[in-house]
């Protein structure tokens, strides 16, 4: 397969976006509601005129004067490559969107571009301010969907996004879509995760290398995530969360939309519960996603773990009933501290339960063999 290609015009478009970023920031965030997707639909001339009426001509001349060699040299210097809409390898999903980027700048494995098709990719997004529950589910969805052969797309943000990426990396590879340049690790504290994805997966962006993050570039990034995948799953989002923008955009494109239910008395998952009430597909585990995307029962996730003895099954049942700590389990089952500790560690090692930083246990989706499942 040939290397991904980009024509100079498309690369200049991404330069123009970076150049206009501060102007767009002013009009996109100065008014109510985000208008960046509408703006990005415009041609170069209209966009420049709309964003920077006074400097439009000068900016367009400047951008037009950048030589092709310089455009390519910048990409090479940032260890990136580009793929524009005129290239065969440009992701199919993006061709459906009227406001799609002209070119994708990528860092990492270009072979993953070919897997970025609506039938094979799923976008997992959610709030940055996520609960432990949401993070755990995101991680598992990421892992199990990847294990089932799907490509998990997310946005490298705090909370759900990062957990989905981490889960996916446990089972294979993943794609991160950034609002800044592909060579910029944003947020900075996810630098190590970003580096890992660059090495084992793919990072893409519509911005040229070196561009910083702007407030408007996140909703803009969301439209790419929504278009790339056949289904968008919102794991946890409060009302008015940014991930609901992704959900809206996905629905507008006619993509499947899924949401993970959360407790109805809590504010953190209110947005996802609203999505469910509005008809989004109910996502309890990876199997629900596979059924929705590929048709019921077409592909099964592997959800059966190694065999357990009766004592371990009792402890597992206690965790399922909501006993969160080692202490509570030993009190409810009348086991000694040592016995409970050993059973819980085995269950954790086998992947049946997970333990948080403060020592509270929660059940994973893995089922013991012979169990009835749900």
């Amino acid at each position: 397969m040939s290397a991904p290609q980009a024509c100079p015009d498309c690369l200049r478009r991404s330069r123009l976006l970076a150049h206009l970023a501060p102007y767009i920031e002013k009009i996109a965030t100065g008014t109510v509601g985000s208008r960046s997707p509408e703006l990005l639909r415009l041609s170069n001339e209209d966009l420049a005129a709309a964003a920077a009426p006074n400097a439009a001509a000068q900016i367009l001349t400047e951008i037009g004067a950048v030589p092709e060699s310089r455009l390519l040299a910048d990409l090479v210097a940032a260890q990136c490559w580009a793929c524009c809409r005129h290239d065969q390898r440009f992701p199919v999903g993006l061709r459906d969107a009227a406001d799609a980027p002209w070119a994708l700048i990528g860092r990492g494995d270009p072979a993953l571009l070919d897997r970025l098709e609506p039938e094979g990719a799923v976008t997992v997004v959610g709030a940055r301010r996520a609960t432990t529950y949401g993070r755990e589910i995101a991680r598992e969805l990421g892992r199990e969907l990847t294990a089932a052969g799907l490509l998990v797309v997310s946005g490298l943000a705090f909370g759900i996004d990062a957990c989905a990426h981490r889960g996916a990396l446990e089972a294979g590879t993943t794609v991160a879509v950034l609002g800044c340049g592909a060579d910029v690790a944003y947020p900075a504290s996810h630098r190590s995760l970003w580096r890992r994805i660059c090495g084992e997966g793919l990072v893409v962006s519509e911005m040229p290398p070196g561009t910083g993050a702007w407030r408007w570039s996140f909703p803009a990034r969301n439209r790419i995530m929504a278009a790339l995948a056949g289904m968008t799953v919102v794991v946890e989002a409060a009302q008015r969360s940014g991930s609901l923008i992704t959900a809206d955009l996905a629905a507008d494109l006619g993509r499947d939309l899924g949401a993970v239910p959360g407790p109805v008395n809590s504010r953190a998952p209110a947005g996802t519960n609203d999505l469910l009430a509005g008809g989004a597909c109910l996502v309890r585990d990876a199997q629900d996603v596979l059924d929705a995307m590929l048709g019921p029962g077409v592909r099964k996730t592997e959800r059966t773990g190694p065999a357990l003895d009766s004592g371990q099954l009792r402890v597992l049942a206690a965790i399922e009933e909501g006993e969160g700590t080692c202490d509570a389990v030993s009190a409810s089952l009348d086991l000694s501290g040592a016995e409970t500790a050993s059973a819980l560690a085995t269950l954790e090692a086998l992947g049946y339960v997970t333990c948080s930083l403060v020592g509270s246990y929660s059940r994973t989706l893995l089922q013991p063999p012979g169990g009835s499942g749900r």
Partner: protein, 512 residues
């Protein structure tokens, strides 16, 4: 009348007298020679030789005590020099020596036995000799120097007698000094105070902890291997109660260790009247400063970490401590020593303690699983991130605690400390026979950790956990140390699968 005439005669020449005493430097005693010179000139009394404010004020105390005990205060030029001049002298313990030297210099006291004695004590205005801190260290230093006997305040007598091979003379009042110097009066050597090796009477017992089997298990493992422990749970779940019971299940102190504890307590003025030794339990408030925790100030004074030597240092509300305070604790925790360097002073203080920390699961304390918890997820993340800072990295065990149920609280008492202590002591013996005297599993170096024997299923479980949960190299060693302790408690030579599983469960978790 006769005394007055002698002073008059002596007024023609300058007279010098000396006395031996000690000053405290951190927790060690340093010898000080008091030289008093009385000569002609305008009446004045000055103290030279780097005295601190308390030593300088000795002038007033000595003057009043001498007058009130029937001596005469010479109205002449008096200079008291404290040698060596380069050493800072602190505290009121030099009053007695200054007074004795001044009495000799002014001809009111015969030298007699004084050159063979060291004198320590603070003077009251009526001449009574008051207690001073650090008498144990001072008596030991006197013994090292070959001093025949040490004169101490009567209340400090039993403490000084702990030092062993040195005479101890209890002085109640300055008036007794003439008879003492002349050899007419010689009090009996006081009985040394009892040295407490294990914590028994008067120490809270683990039986008070009802239910909480997991916490009991964690406490026992932590005591058996000397592993530091982090307890996480809602307020009122019994974290402080459990921590304060930990000294009672630690193995008995060796006599030398008990003496170390007593020496530190004595130097800090915290020695109780009836007993010395026993495992200390220190619980500094979270507003403590770095100097308060590890020692500091100028001149450097011991901190909470040194006071907790051979005992337990309990940091309640770990997340509320200042970051620099906790950072300061890192190196001492690793080495067992605090080194404080100040301009002109350098101290090396022992601090081999067990660290026990407690924290709430989230800022409101209820824990995320509780529907009442109103903490924003980000706030919880930020709070919990503080549980994995540099200090937390040195913590081996995590015990997640929950509120005990009403039945548990009304239920029977738990196992008593004495029974647990017995098992802990046996496990410690096994460690000492393997690692050497006084060492525990928590202190094992990387090489010793690698030498721990594992059976096959245990190794498989550890390898599985290592690859699946991405244990770091440090966490891997931590689990092995814990597993070794669990195996020592079980009396096993080789770490089995069961013990490895327990260690994996008990280990402290890291953030990703």
């Amino acid at each position: 009348m006769r005394t007055t005439r002698r002073i008059w005669l002596l007024s023609l020449v300058s007279v010098l007298a000396t006395a031996q005493t000690f000053t405290l430097d951190g927790i060690a005693a340093r010898p000080v020679r008091v030289e008093v010179d009385v000569h002609r000139g305008l009446p004045a009394f000055s103290v030279v030789g780097l005295p601190d404010a308390a030593v300088r004020e000795a002038r007033e105390r000595v003057r009043a005590a001498m007058v009130n005990c029937g001596f005469e205060f010479p109205l002449r030029r008096i200079v008291a020099n404290l040698a060596p001049a380069s050493l800072r002298k602190a505290g009121p313990g030099m009053d007695l020596a200054i007074a004795a030297a001044l009495l000799v210099a002014s001809g009111q006291l015969d030298l007699g036995r004084l050159p063979k004695l060291a004198l320590v004590g603070e003077l009251a205005l009526d001449g009574a000799v008051r207690v001073v801190p650090g008498v144990l260290a001072i008596a030991e230093a006197a013994r090292e120097r070959g001093t025949e006997a040490i004169v101490v305040p009567a209340e400090n007598g039993p403490e000084a007698a702990l030092a062993g091979d040195v005479g101890v003379i209890c002085l109640e009042n300055l008036t007794q000094i003439s008879a003492l110097a002349a050899g007419e009066w010689m009090p009996d050597r006081p009985e040394p105070m009892p040295l407490r090796l294990s914590s028994e009477a008067g120490v809270p017992d683990l039986a008070d902890l009802r239910g909480q089997r997991h916490l009991r298990h964690a406490l026992e493992v932590s005591a058996a291997g000397g592993h530091s422990l982090l307890m996480v749970g809602p307020p009122g779940a019994g974290k402080s109660l459990a921590a304060s019971r930990l000294p009672s299940i630690l193995p008995p102190l060796a006599a030398e260790e008990a003496l170390e504890v007593a020496r530190i307590a004595s130097a800090c003025g915290r020695l109780e009247d009836d007993e010395a030794g026993g495992r200390p339990f220190r619980a500094p408030h979270h507003t403590v400063s770095p100097a308060g925790l590890v020692g500091g100030g100028n001149p450097p004074a011991p901190g909470e970490a040194t006071l907790a030597h051979r005992g337990v240092l309990f940091l309640d509300e770990l997340c509320e401590f200042r970051r620099d305070t906790l950072e300061a604790l890192r190196a001492p925790l690793e080495t067992g020593w605090v080194s404080i360097a100040r301009a002109g002073a350098w101290r090396h203080l022992p601090c081999r303690f067990m660290l026990v920390a407690a924290a709430n699961p989230c800022p409101c304390g209820r824990g995320e699983a509780d529907p009442e918890c109103s903490c924003a997820p980000l706030a919880v993340r930020r709070y919990q991130a503080r549980l994995s800072g540099a200090l937390a990295d040195r913590i081996d065990l995590l015990a997640a605690i929950r509120q005990p149920s009403a039945e548990e609280l009304a239920g029977p008492q738990g196992e008593a400390s004495a029974d647990v202590r017995e098992r802990v002591a046996v496990a410690r013996e096994r460690q000492e026979s393997r690692l050497g005297p006084g060492r525990s599993n928590a202190e094992m170096g990387p090489r010793e950790v690698r030498e721990c024997a594992l059976d096959e299923p245990a190794a498989a479980l550890l390898a599985d956990a290592y690859s699946r949960r991405r244990l770091s190299g440090r966490a891997h060693d931590r689990v092995l140390r814990l597993a070794r302790t669990v195996a020592d408690l079980a009396g096993a030579e080789t770490i089995g699968r069961e013990q490895m599983a327990q260690a994996l469960q008990l280990r402290r978790r890291d953030v990703e």
